[in-house]
């Protein structure tokens, strides 16, 4: 036997206990962090050693979600090797589990014929899940390959803007006519070739396909078989319109503990279904992209992507920050004469700016949460302003005085201390004002307040920190 054939055997022998443990654990145990890492190490090892046969064998043992997670963890080149080994049907399932950045990278490098074969393995729901990652021309080809009614549904659905309920709904739901009996409904469940995922209830419709109620699956087992659906259905239904905001829908899912909910058009005709899984995915994606967007990064920024692209991705944010920092320091340049006379001012001024920024960001964080949870409204806005301004006045006086004393002791100049105290207090008041107003304004403009607030705020507290401190110093000290 030749070398290359012997190596995998040795490797397999060495890794046998690990593998056995992994397999056992995928069956009845939850997959822990450590196990995932072991698995990733194993696969990476096989890719490195170009053990193609062993790699394929190992991949076959994993489910699509786990392969997806693995690809998310691998550096780009190894990710590509594993992707190339996946059968099209598996690749299709895996595609749905990937980070957007990783999925886009893999879609980009997949030859068009293979990509089309992969997309053919997806049903219409799955296709609409990843439609925005696929180049338009290829997406159109994939849509054309669908059956007529699926094609119509996909075309309609991808037209709903991102972040709407329509963009996140799925097609299949189990419906039952209001005049059917419990027995007929059970027969409907029994005879369905495949049940839509997360089916927890039947949607009850009248002859115009209008939603009139729901029947939880368990209720089918708890009523006598001859009872009419119309007499035992629940008419207290939380439903959504396709243009509703998906985040609002997420809040409703949480508030009413929903697993699935109907989506209806203006005539209350059933047009789709919203599932807790999709909503959870969506909320996680939003939270994630917000965390990145706060630092001026896009949600599809790929930590393992090419370097030049990584450098270019950061330019817009760099430019904005260079520009605002530059502008803020222009306030310093107004007072260069004052600084020349009392250089201690140059040393102390960043403190005034920095404390303002931090306090303003605290206020903004509270206001952003209040807006997200719909706690802030016209009626209590005055209260919020008053409260935050009083807090700033208190804390500004208290901590500003302390800073003032420090400055006095450090430079032996009591007036410098007084300037410090006044500037800190005024800058904290300004920070509170801006910390409330900017998120509110962004919210009114239907922008995400979590995003732009910090740039504007930092610019304002920096500029005004410099201006107030140096301006007061010029008036009082020089």
């Amino acid at each position: 036997m030749t070398q290359p054939d012997e190596r995998p055997k040795k490797l397999a022998t060495r890794l046998a206990p690990v593998l056995e443990q992994l397999q056992r654990q995928t069956v009845v145990e939850s997959v822990t962090h450590r196990q995932q890492q072991q698995r990733a190490d194993l696969i990476e090892n096989l890719v490195q050693r170009q053990q193609r046969a062993a790699l394929v064998r190992e991949l076959n043992k994993l489910n699509k979600a786990d392969i997806g997670h693995l690809l998310n963890m691998l550096p780009a080149d190894k990710r590509h090797t594993v992707w190339a080994e996946l059968p099209n049907a598996t690749a299709a399932g895996v595609l749905l589990e990937l980070n957007d950045a990783v999925a886009e990278d893999l879609i980009d490098l997949t030859a068009v014929p293979r990509l089309l074969s992969i997309l053919e393995c997806l049903d219409s729901d799955e296709l609409t899940e990843i439609d925005d990652l696929i180049p338009a021309a290829i997406l159109q080809q994939a849509i054309n390959a669908l059956e007529a009614n699926e094609r119509r549904w996909v075309t309609q659905t991808i037209a709903y803007p991102e972040g709407t309920v329509g963009d996140n709904m799925s097609r299949d739901s189990l419906t039952i006519a209001e005049q059917a009996t419990i027995n007929e409904a059970i027969e409907r469940v029994r005879s369905a070739p495949e049940l839509p995922p997360q089916t927890d209830k039947l949607f009850v419709i009248n002859r115009h396909r209008q939603l009139v109620g729901i029947v939880p699956l368990v209720e089918l087992m708890r009523h006598p078989g001859e009872v009419m659906i119309r007499d035992c259905m629940d008419t207290d239904v939380v439903s959504f319109a396709p243009n509703d905001d998906a985040e609002d829908a997420g809040q409703a899912f949480e508030r009413y503990d929903l697993i699935s909910a109907p989506v209806v058009d203006e005539q209350r005709r059933l047009i789709g279904r919203l599932r807790v899984e999709t909503i959870m995915d969506y909320l996680r994606e939003v939270a994630e992209s917000q965390a990145l967007a706060k630092e001026g990064l896009k949600a599809d920024t790929d930590l393992f992507g090419p370097i030049l692209e990584g450098a270019r991705e950061r330019w817009p944010w760099l430019v904005i920050n260079l520009f605002t920092a530059f502008l803020a320091t222009r306030f310093i340049s107004l007072f260069e004469g004052t600084i020349e006379q009392l250089v201690a001012l140059a040393t102390l001024m960043p403190i005034v700016a920095s404390v303002g920024g931090n306090t303003g960001n605290q206020t903004a964080a509270l206001v952003i949460r209040g807006l997200a949870m719909e706690q802030i409204q016209a009626g209590n806005l005055g209260y919020v302003y008053r409260k935050e301004l009083v807090i700033s006045l208190l804390n500004g006086t208290l901590w500003g005085s302390l800073l003032g004393v420090f400055a006095w002791l450090l430079y032996g100049n009591p007036l410098l201390g007084a300037v410090m105290m006044a500037a800190v207090t005024l800058n904290l008041l300004l920070a509170a004002l801006i910390g409330i107003s900017v998120p509110l304004l962004l919210d009114r403009l239907h922008k995400d307040p979590a995003m732009g607030s910090s740039v504007v705020l930092t610019f304002a507290t920096d500029s005004m920190g410099f201006f107030l401190f140096l301006g007061l110093a010029t008036l009082i000290l020089v």
Copy 2:
């Protein structure tokens, strides 16, 4: 009729169309943001006008989740008035829906006898949901009032640390013996006096109460009645241990699209159930408290709470930031002589510090996401460091040069421009290094990297921004 009796009538007439619309909409429509606001305005109005009877009437029309949301929105004093009007059973349900901050506030002001009556309305699952908000002595009294087996379960469950699966699991689940038939299982569902919420499957146990599989409810309808559960159950079960991390469990729920999952002890005996609802709640709470913790605020910070408390809540963060800002400016004081000779340095130095901080926070945000999604591991760490350092070198050279040219043009000093460029590039390299290392270090120490990273990073990039720029200027310019 007297004034006070006439007023509600007028108000009711005026508000009749709004009310009617609201009622209709709670039945079959989703409740939109606007409707919630209208409702809050109406209730607030009734509280303001002290229309007690009308207020009680309106509250009766709302479900517990909606009353909870309303209380979250009301300023503290009005919140207290509404709370006082709620019957104990309603108050108990509402308590579960409140923000922690609001719930704590209301629990604090409720007289002990009423609080105990309210807690008596909660079952053991509900009690463990809010156990950490209730003063220990009162919680113990409430637990003592439970039946023996409930009491044992609650006592066990509240012992699991926060953030574990055990802390989030619920007690009730529908179980079936492996040797039962489908018909017996259906009878079990039919005869249960009340089904646990979000029951989507039966847990199959052997005679030792060990978990051996699951049967989705729908499957009960899709198999012939005489089939044995053991022959049709699914043995590929994702289960959790009570000490597993709740966030990891959340990821598993997402990855495997779970609605509920069993919690088992070391002998695989069933001890509880984890529900998608609880996990969603938990994940949202974590995300929320992270957003606040990043700005040094506690999750239970109450935007509508008392002012003095609000001021005091911000002290720790203020002190940390004052201290680090003060420390960072000590680096400036080292070079006061240099600044005296070239005051332009004072104007330009904040730009170097600020650009470093922003770049470092970008890197940190990417690393924090990579850690949260378990994409970063020992094997690809070197790649991440190399990539981020090269990006910093590229961007530092490019944008540093631009800044340098600006500085040169502004102050007519080409050497000042060169110092600017060098300082920006070096500070960006340092920012990348720290942006990766600090989150990693916090993660290794089992701290949340999203929390402390930004303080350390800003301190480092500020200090080094000042030090590098002024140090280079001292070497080259003076």
